[in-house]
Symmetry: C2
Subunit: 334 residues, 2 copies
Amino acid sequence: MSTIKEVSRLANVSVATVSRVVNGNKWVSEATKTKVLAAMKELGYQPNSFAKALATNRSDTVGMVVSELGGAFFGEMMYAAEDRVRATGKHLIITSGHDTRSTEKDAIDFLMQRQVDALLLHVDALTDDDLIQLTDSNNIPIILINRFVPELAEQCISLDNEMGGFIATQHLIDLGHEEIVCITGPLFKVDARARLAGYRRALEKAGLVYDENRVIESNYQEQGGQIAIDRLRRREQTFTAIVAQNDHMAIGAMNALKQLGIKIGDETSIVGYDNMVMSRYTEPALTTIHIPVADFGQRAADLALNMMGLQNKTLVKRFQPELIARSSTAVRKL
Amino acid sequence: MSTIKEVSRLANVSVATVSRVVNGNKWVSEATKTKVLAAMKELGYQPNSFAKALATNRSDTVGMVVSELGGAFFGEMMYAAEDRVRATGKHLIITSGHDTRSTEKDAIDFLMQRQVDALLLHVDALTDDDLIQLTDSNNIPIILINRFVPELAEQCISLDNEMGGFIATQHLIDLGHEEIVCITGPLFKVDARARLAGYRRALEKAGLVYDENRVIESNYQEQGGQIAIDRLRRREQTFTAIVAQNDHMAIGAMNALKQLGIKIGDETSIVGYDNMVMSRYTEPALTTIHIPVADFGQRAADLALNMMGLQNKTLVKRFQPELIARSSTAVRKL
DNA sequence: AAGCACTGTGTAACCGATTACAGTTTTATG
DNA sequence: CATAAAACTGTAATCGGTTACACAGTGCTT
């Protein structure tokens, strides 16, 4: 790979001039510009991004941390974010945080070492304090996705998860259900805790008791939903409806119920959360809470670009969850 | 962010010594090593990766290009690849190629500018020649995922797509179908062409005619499947079975057929391709061709690591597709 | 005591760009 | 025509590391 020096030699100018041409500086005559461009082309010159970043202290990249690279949820988010970032000529570097405090820190360190110009974080394990400190000790824009930290409200793109848990539960209550169980995600995650709080609030508002025996902490995975049903049966816990904190667990629970010969919708209602693509295809189709995942990615990127001074869009930062009613929920049979 | 110079000053040694400590060089006494480590800790020193990469001409990162960041297919692949790469202490940078020749080139250029130590490519639009030239003009390992270029056989992790198209079609023939249509992906993509060739070979082997009117070129998307059914009806083309070249289009076609009141499995059989998660949840569950996506990612990474001399695993480079029979295909009604 | 190998540390060139500053040429103006 | 302003170009310092080489001390051999 050729260097700026080789180009300058071939074009018979100084490296400074070549640099000016590359960066579109206006104080270069047409004649020399043509010469330099020709030389660049002849050598197939590509600027060394490390040298550039070292000299300018900018990298023209935005860093993103997601929980997992796999899965449709993050896929959509990354897609939308990359789209916006690329539109400004910058690039997106994505790493996965793997849901533990130390790996999330690693991922962030890695991106910081790359001198990213902004950071889009979807992290679960880092505490609010970690995030506040991170923001304080760096002067690049740091955006938090699907998370709300009051002190950092300006940098948060979030969904009202408490409200999501509330409307999911309310929907079941409206259908006449009174024995409603909740299958939660890992409760160290803030979103799982918020959804649970919403579940509780809906119950209490309806004058129903919140009973810990009706809450099963699980893992956001399909098998977790299956296991949860098993645990409820061992507890001899009766119920006519289920709030699952994501679609994966809802589907697992549905499968377990089917195996027990229980008709979903008809006998037992279930509502999921996330509105994943597959929830439209289950039998019966799953009632769920819609999260605007793509919007998250897009807004996070836009917010970062705003803060970098590259644009100035007005943005919605907090989204409201929305219930998508399908056939897995029905009026309670008497 | 503090620099090596500040550390050296605080520890009262030269920058060279600090560098030696950071890189674990053995010719440093215990005493100075302790001093330096203390100074590093006190300043929260993080080496600047650009300076390091510039000086060493290595970046400790592996680059990956995928068609789209969204979608379960690539998600799984990225996940598996990152897992392997990270296990060797390196990092994975992912960019999306967006399926056009120029954007794929851009993505590769971007990664090359970052001096990636290896390249994992899932590209569709670049030609074989492009890839051969790319390999020739760079001396880092370049791995091709889900693609087979004879000249670069050593660097290809691939699936026998022709065989996949063949067994999908053969399955329908075995069930007694004779009027089999094929909904293809964009035919500029090699895998779509290969699957179509397999479809044709199966027909011809069974003594059935290959008829272009039975082939609909589509776009690998759900809506494309829907449109394809529409086009078949306009052509007044009769059929009892469908080979769809991916699950998305298969699902779209199923929906279109359902709307027409046609019972899938019972009246019309359909087989998909990819074995996406959601194909288990459709009604009826979709018969499909399984692709070991995660294996692709993992093997690609492992192959790259092999070529970098970091390990020496023996690897399977070419996978065989596998039919997953579910209820969307059934014996032809007479 | 001289010679030598080995260990530990520092000096300074180098990687490939950017950019402040200075110097030169061209153009505009009174 | 003198001269200031504007346009263009080059020199060299700088970013933050790595590493070849030089050099100094220590201990061992002869």
